[in-house]
């Protein structure tokens, strides 16, 4: 190992730098659009920054980030295990609905029983949504991306249908379910919120999200289960040759990923939503999870950071219209960030033009790619 590395080599090897650079470029492109529209870059970005740095603003960011972190973990987990969980959207919706049904119908149970029960129901239903897709894939060879897209919409309409069932439908005129019982809510107490001047929907779901981050990291990096799933993700044939049951691994991976997304739905409902409305289009938490997983490079702690970043942009973006800038600017910034993260692989190829040191490694790498 040579200690002295040139800047280019560091750039080519440090994933974190790529992401930082991508984020900067994202804001540069955003600024470019602001200038075209004749708006002040300072005003817009100043508003973005000021709205997330106050205590209240930051508590909003954390609350916003909870579902993004958890769905991000779900998608990141699936990426690690070689499947692309584009179905997190549906699993999220189903999990949310399961938690709502339990939280409304069993609302009289004490808090310490009801909340775990809601979590479990959401995880079970989310996992079920993942397992169905996995079974279709392993038993009938049906492409998982295709069936997930279908099951996202089935979940969407099923949720709308369930919201209309009299037992849980709102008593008022609202096109929504009843509110979940106070015993199923993860909101912090009113006194605590007013004492620290937090946002009204401040809840302890973020603690669950952090615990999940650690758990996912443990599963992926520290257990034989994770090793098995990753092996299948890297190379199916090699894993099978090594004695791993590939079909069972896919099933397990999608079940865990689905359970995570389902739990994300429950956390969103029990903290922020408190009831489920009849929607006319998908809310997109699962798709946001894909973006967060990508920004976090499928690393659990990266996802945690990316989720907070995304939450900050979404919340800050909702305040942009106060300075006359469109909210969609946030999508452009995030889209650019993701695009540059995708392109950043080009830095890894800088190795090839290094005169010293890394050439051998590059040659080995090249050999690998040719044999693919």
């Amino acid at each position: 190992m040579d200690k002295k590395k040139s800047f280019l080599v560091i750039l080519s090897e440090t994933r974190f730098l790529h992401i930082l650079l991508s984020i900067i470029l994202g804001f540069v492109v955003g600024a470019f659009f602001l200038v075209i529209m004749g708006l002040s870059v300072g005003d817009a970005y100043g508003r973005l920054l000021s709205s997330v740095t106050s205590v209240k603003g930051f508590s909003y960011v954390v609350v916003y980030a909870i579902p993004y972190i958890v769905t991000g973990l779900s998608v990141a987990f699936s990426f690690k295990t070689g499947v692309f969980n584009i179905g997190a959207e549906g699993q999220f919706v189903m999990g949310s609905m399961a938690a709502a049904v339990v939280g409304i119908l069993l609302g009289d149970l004490p808090k310490f029983v009801l909340i775990p029960l809601c979590f479990l129901a959401a995880m079970a239903v989310g996992a079920l949504w993942g397992i169905i897709v996995a079974l279709l894939k392993t038993k009938r060879g049906i492409n998982e991306v295709l069936s997930m897209i279908m099951f996202n919409w089935i979940a969407f309409y099923l949720s709308n249908f369930i919201a209309g069932i009299p037992a849980i439908h709102s008593d008022g005129t609202a096109e929504a379910t009843k509110n979940i019982s106070a015993n199923a809510s993860t909101l912090l107490s009113k006194d605590f919120i007013s004492q620290y001047k937090l946002c009204p929907t401040a809840n302890w779901g973020i603690l669950v999200a952090i615990v999940l981050t650690v758990v996912v990291w443990l599963i992926i990096d520290k257990t034989t289960l994770g090793y098995r799933l990753k092996a299948v993700g890297f190379n199916k044939s090699a894993a099978e040759y090594g004695g791993i049951n590939v079909n069972r691994s896919i099933l397990t991976a999608l079940a865990i990923s689905g359970a995570l997304a389902g739990l994300g739905g429950a956390l969103q409902l029990m903290g922020m939503g408190s009831r489920i409305s009849v929607f006319s289009s998908q809310e997109g938490f699962g798709f946001a999870g894909i973006v967060v997983a990508l920004m976090g490079c499928s690393n659990p702690f990266g996802v945690l950071a990316a989720g907070l970043f995304y939450g900050a942009l979404i919340y800050g973006g909702s305040k942009l219209n106060l300075v006359g800038a469109p909210t969609q600017l946030v999508n452009v910034i995030v889209g650019t960030v993701v695009l540059f993260i995708a392109i950043s692989v080009i830095f890894e190829r800088i190795k090839y033009i290094q005169p010293r040191g890394r050439r051998k490694a590059a040659a080995v790498q090249e050999g690998k790619e040719e044999s693919k």
């Binding site: 279709l136 049906i142 492409n143 991306v145 897209i149 289009s281 999508n331 889209g335 995708a342 790619e369």
Partner: protein
């Protein structure tokens, strides 16, 4: 009996309204996927086309210029996707996801600047895609109404079916098509035979963007008459699903889109007449697709090199 005929006519009419946007995008998806580039950004490209089509038609007054410009807008995003994935070797799923955020983000921002609203101004009937054979059939009889429902349709509907034939011909009867398919199966072998894989894939992704843009424009210029942020909600993903359903063949994608369009048509008729819950009826297209997959389609052959960046070795 006459009730059945007229209802069937309405179902077919709805089918022919729902299918074309999906089919344009699905044909686009075919080009990209078969050449070996996963294009999950179809949705974003459709949104770009949907917006640009209406805006250009609104300002020029000519629907066809709008329609083509819609395609070109999709192509622009296709080119970004191609630049990232084909030229720079970026991960195709990540780049596609980025396109899905950039497309709607940028066009809605432009809409805000141009119209001070996220919606565009509704097109007049002269600015919309014209309907062919309107008034040719005698609608006073049941049979005439049926014929009117089925055959008096937007010009883009006829175009898309011609496009399927054209794409099928390109894929299976031309040298370009053979090369295109080979690039998705074994790019290294292509390169040794002197085919420029990078250029092939680049143009295929651009074509994919163009067709997706047309699909988007079809939604806002034929089915409805204005662009709204909810104009394109998931059609791009359904188109991708139709292509996988059709085993990455244009004729298969046609079947997939027709099945989907037909079920959506069924939804319209059942939703009006039966007492079944609307949300359950809305589920029909998705459930039927899964059932058909399980019973009749099964495993589909994905182009071998699909999703793998091709890096030219020295």
């Amino acid at each position: 009996m006459s009730g059945f005929i007229s209802e069937f006519g309405i179902i077919l009419y709805a089918t022919l309204i729902y299918t074309p946007p999906l089919l344009y995008a699905a044909l686009g998806s075919c080009f990209s996927e078969v050449s070996g580039v996963v294009n999950i950004g179809i949705e974003g490209m459709m949104t770009a086309g949907a917006f640009t089509g209406t805006v250009v038609a609104y300002f020029t007054g000519n629907p066809w210029i709008g329609f083509i410009c819609g395609g070109l807008a999709g192509m622009l995003f296709g080119a970004i996707h191609a630049l990232a994935t084909v030229r720079l070797g970026a991960d195709q799923t990540i780049a596609g996801t980025a396109i899905n955020m950039l497309g709607p983000g940028i066009v809605i921002m432009i809409a805000k600047v141009l119209f001070n609203s996220t919606d565009t101004i509704p097109l007049t009937s002269e600015q919309k895609i014209p309907m062919l054979f309107r008034g040719v059939f005698d609608t006073s009889t049941v049979f005439g109404r049926f014929m009117d429902n089925v055959f008096a349709n937007y010009a883009t509907t006829y175009l898309v079916f011609l496009a399927v034939i054209l794409v099928w011909f390109i894929f299976y009867k031309t040298r370009f098509g053979l090369r295109l398919r080979a690039c998705g199966e074994h790019p290294q072998a292509c390169e040794t035979l002197g085919i420029n894989v990078i250029a092939m894939r680049f143009w295929c992704v651009c074509i994919s963007g163009f067709l997706s843009g047309l699909g988007g424009a079809c939604v806002t210029m034929a089915t409805s008459n204005q662009f709204r942020p909810i104009s394109i909600v998931g059609q791009g993903f359904i188109a991708i699903a139709a292509v996988i359903f059709g085993k990455f063949r244009p004729q298969g994608a046609l079947l997939g889109c027709l099945l989907f369009g037909f079920c959506s048509g069924l939804k319209v008729v059942l939703g009006g007449s039966s007492g079944v819950n609307m949300h359950l009826i809305s589920m029909i297209p998705y459930v039927v697709t899964v059932i058909v997959l399980v019973l009749f389609v099964g495993k589909s052959h994905v182009p071998s090199a699909n999703g793998k960046p091709y890096i030219k070795s020295k």
